[in-house]
C-alpha cells in the first residue's frame, strides 16, 4: 500500500502545546516539510522567538537557540555571518516581529541578510493572553482593546509584508494563509520558495502566514477559520509581494 501521509523527518513526534484550532502547528509542519524537501535538516539552525513559537526545538529536530523578544532577526544575523553554509531561520509572532522587534526586522531585511523568517500573524499577543497586537484588526476586541481597536486611539493594523517589500535588501516577501486546503498548498509552496531563496544566496526572505487564535479570539476553531477568510485576508491580502529573480541585476545569487 502506498503511504500518502507521514510525519516529516525533521518534525519531532511530540504532543503539541498549541491550542485546538491554532494554526501554528500546521505552520511548523510546513517548515519541516521544506527542510525535508531540500534535505537541509543537518545544516539548519532555528531561532526561537518569544511567544507561542518559543518551543521551536520541541517540534523541529534541528539546532535551535532562543532569542529575546523581538530580537530573533539579529540573532539570526550573528549566526549566519559566522556560518554561511548553514540555513538559518526563525518563526516570529506579530508582537515579536511587528512591535518590539520592528527595528531588527527592518534592518535585517534592509541588509539583505540571507536568512528566512516565518511570520505568524494571529492579530493578537497569544502567549500573554490575547492583548492587542500591531496587526489587530480595526474593531477587533482584545483584552487590551476591550471596546474594539479604534483608529483614533490605536492606529491601523501594520502590514509588514507591504512595508518590507519596499526595501531593496528583501529578496522574497509573501503572505499566505492555512485556513483551507487550497491556501495551505500555496503556503507550502511559498515557505519552500523562501528557503530556496536562502539556499540560492538571494538575501532576505519572509513569508507571513495568517493564523487563527481561537483561544484568544473567543471563537470556536471553525469560526476562527472563517474570521481568517472574511476579516483577515481582506486586510492582509495574500500573494507574493516581492521576488528577486536569480541572476538579475539586483540579486546576489
Amino acid at each position: 500500500m502506498k503511504k500518502v501521509f507521514e510525519r516529516p523527518k525533521s518534525l519531532k513526534d511530540t504532543p503539541s502545546h498549541f491550542c485546538p484550532g491554532c494554526h501554528s502547528g500546521l505552520i511548523h509542519r510546513l517548515v519541516a516539510e521544506a527542510i525535508d524537501y531540500f534535505k537541509i535538516q543537518e545544516r539548519t539552525i532555528g531561532v526561537a522567538s518569544v511567544g507561542c513559537s518559543v518551543f521551536l526545538y520541541n517540534y523541529l529536530d534541528v539546532d535551535v537557540i532562543e532569542a529575546p523578544h523581538g530580537r530573533a532577526p539579529a540573532v539570526c544575523t550573528g549566526i549566519k555571518r559566522v556560518r554561511k553554509q548553514n540555513i538559518v531561520f526563525t518563526i516570529q509572532g506579530d508582537g515579536d516581529l511587528a512591535a518590539i522587534g520592528t527595528s531588527e526586522i527592518i534592518h535585517t531585511a534592509n541588509r539583505g541578510e540571507n536568512i528566512t523568517v516565518i511570520f505568524i500573524n494571529n492579530a493578537v499577543y497569544g502567549m500573554t493572553g490575547g492583548q492587542m497586537a500591531p496587526t489587530t484588526l480595526l474593531g477587533q476586541r482584545t483584552t487590551t482593546s476591550p471596546y474594539g481597536r479604534d483608529v483614533q486611539q490605536e492606529g491601523y493594523p501594520v502590514r509588514m509584508v507591504e512595508l518590507l517589500s519596499g526595501l531593496e535588501g528583501s529578496a522574497f516577501i509573501a503572505r499566505a494563509a492555512v485556513n483551507k486546503p487550497a491556501n495551505l498548498m500555496k503556503a507550502k509552496k511559498l515557505i519552500r520558495r523562501a528557503f530556496e531563496m536562502q539556499i540560492n544566496n538571494m538575501g532576505f526572505s519572509m513569508v507571513e502566514v495568517l493564523s487563527a487564535c481561537p483561544t484568544n479570539w473567543g471563537l470556536k476553531p471553525l469560526e476562527a477559520n472563517r474570521r481568517v477568510e472574511e476579516e483577515m485576508i481582506p486586510c492582509f491580502p495574500l500573494g507574493v509581494f516581492k521576488e528577486k529573480i536569480q541572476g538579475s541585476e539586483d540579486s546576489r545569487g
Partner: protein, 356 residues
C-alpha cells in the same frame, strides 16, 4: 611579531581582540569608544571576519549572541547608554551560558550624563545589570597595556566559563596613548565547544536556551550558574597589592582611579605615611580574600572611586571585623577627575600615626 606600539587604549582593546582570534564585531557608535569599531571595520573584513554596524546596541548584543552560539569568538563595545541597552541581551547570554566579550568604555550618567571618565557603572557591571540572578566576569584595566592583556584574557575566561565577560574601562583609558607591548599572553587550556549550533549532523540537536518551566528546573539551573561563579572566585581572581605589609592605611581603588592613587601612594610613602594599595583587577569575581587578609593587621581602608560609592560596599563586605572603611568619591563629569594631591589630603584627614 613582538611589537611595542604607541596607541590609544581603545586601539589596544581592538588589537587584543584580533590577536585573541575574535573575527566578529557588532557595534553602534558612541563616544568615547568609537575607535574600537573604526579599527575593527578596517581589519576584520581583511581577516575573513565580519564587522557590522548594527541599528542599535540592542541589535548588536543579539548579533553577538548569535555569533557566539555559532561558536565564534566575538565582541561588542559601547558606553553608558548603550551598555544599558545591552543588559537584556547580557542576561540572556548569561542564562543561556554563552561566552562573548563586551567592552564598556564608561562615560557618565545617569541619562545622557557626559563623556568624561566614570566609574559609576560598577554596580551595573558587577551586580547583574539585567534581570535574573547572574553575574558577568568583569575586568578593570588601569593602563593601555592592561587594555590589551585583559581583553585577551576576557576571551579566554568567557570561553572557560561559557559566560559573558566585560571590560570595564573609561574614557581616560580609552583615549590616552601609551606604549603597549603586543604580546599575546599564553592562551588557557579551554574546553571543547560541543554545545555550538552548527547543524545537527551525526549528533542530536543542540539547544541553547534560558527558559526553564519544568518543576525545579530553573532553580537547578540557577544553582549551576552559582557554582560557576564560585569557581571563578576560586580560580580566577586578579588583583594588585602594593606596600600593604606594613601599611596603616590601605587605599582600595580600581581602573583609572587606582592609576591616580598610585601617584598618591608614592607621595605618601615619601612623606613617611605607611600607606598601601589594593587594586581589584577582577571586579567580579571580587578579590574578597586579599581584603580579608590585609585587614587582619591594617584596620584603616580608604576606598576611592569616580562615583558616590559603589565598590566600597564590596570592600566593606570583605574586610575583617573591626576595620574602618572610609570613602572618597568624585561623581564623574567634566573636570571631576580626582588628583593625587587631593587623595593625599583625604588620607591625611583619616590617617592616625601608630601609637607605637
Amino acid at each position: 611579531m613582538l611589537k611595542k606600539v604607541f596607541i590609544k587604549g581603545n586601539e589596544a582593546i581592538a588589537r587584543a581582540a584580533v590577536d585573541a582570534g575574535c573575527r566578529y564585531y557588532f557595534g553602534y557608535p558612541i563616544t568615547p569608544q568609537s575607535d574600537i569599531p573604526e579599527y575593527l571595520s578596517k581589519v576584520l573584513p581583511k581577516l575573513g571576519g565580519e564587522f557590522i554596524q548594527a541599528e542599535s546596541e540592542i541589535a548588536s548584543i543579539n548579533m553577538l549572541m548569535g555569533a557566539s552560539a555559532a561558536g565564534a569568538r566575538s565582541m561588542t563595545s559601547s558606553s553608558g547608554p548603550g551598555i544599558s541597552l545591552k543588559q537584556e541581551g547580557l542576561s540572556y547570554m548569561a542564562g543561556s551560558e554563552l561566552p562573548g566579550v563586551v567592552v564598556n568604555v564608561a562615560r557618565c550618567g545617569p541619562g545622557l550624563g557626559g563623556i568624561a571618565p566614570s566609574q559609576a557603572e560598577y554596580f551595573q557591571a558587577t551586580k547583574g545589570g539585567g534581570h535574573g540572578d547572574y553575574r558577568l566576569i568583569v575586568l578593570a584595566p588601569e593602563s593601555g597595556q592592561e587594555m590589551y592583556d585583559l581583553t585577551f584574557k576576557a576571551f579566554d575566561l568567557a570561553d572557560k566559563y561559557r559566560n559573558p565577560a566585560m571590560i570595564l574601562a573609561d574614557g581616560m583609558l580609552g583615549q590616552m596613548k601609551e606604549p603597549v607591548l603586543l604580546q599575546p599572553p599564553r592562551k588557557m587550556d579551554l574546553p571543547d565547544k560541543d554545545w555550538v549550533l552548527s547543524g545537527a549532523k551525526g549528533r542530536p540537536q543542540n539547544i541553547i536556551k534560558s527558559l526553564y518551566l519544568g518543576d525545579k528546573e530553573l532553580e537547578r539551573h540557577t544553582w549551576q550558574l552559582w557554582e560557576k561563579y564560585q569557581r571563578m572566585k576560586k580560580e580566577d581572581v586578579m588583583f594588585e597589592a602594593r606596600e600593604i605589609k606594613d601599611a596603616r592605611l590601605i587605599i582600595a581603588a580600581f581602573g583609572s582611579c587606582a592609576r591616580i592613587a598610585k601617584s598618591t601612594l608614592r607621595q605618601a610613602r615619601a612623606e613617611g605615611l605607611k600607606v598601601g594599595l589594593i587594586r581589584p583587577i577582577t571586579l567580579f569575581p571580587f578579590p574578597e580574600e586579599i581584603f580579608r587578609q590585609a585587614s587582619i593587621d591594617t584596620k584603616m581602608f580608604l576606598t576611592i572611586e569616580m562615583n558616590t560609592g559603589q565598590m566600597v560596599e564590596d570592600v566593606r563586605l570583605s574586610v575583617s571585623p573591626g576595620t574602618v572603611v572610609y570613602f572618597y568619591g568624585r561623581p564623574p563629569g567634566a573636570g571631576s577627575l580626582p588628583s593625587p594631591d587631593e587623595i593625599l589630603r583625604e588620607i591625611k584627614k583619616v590617617y592616625e600615626p601608630s601609637s607605637e
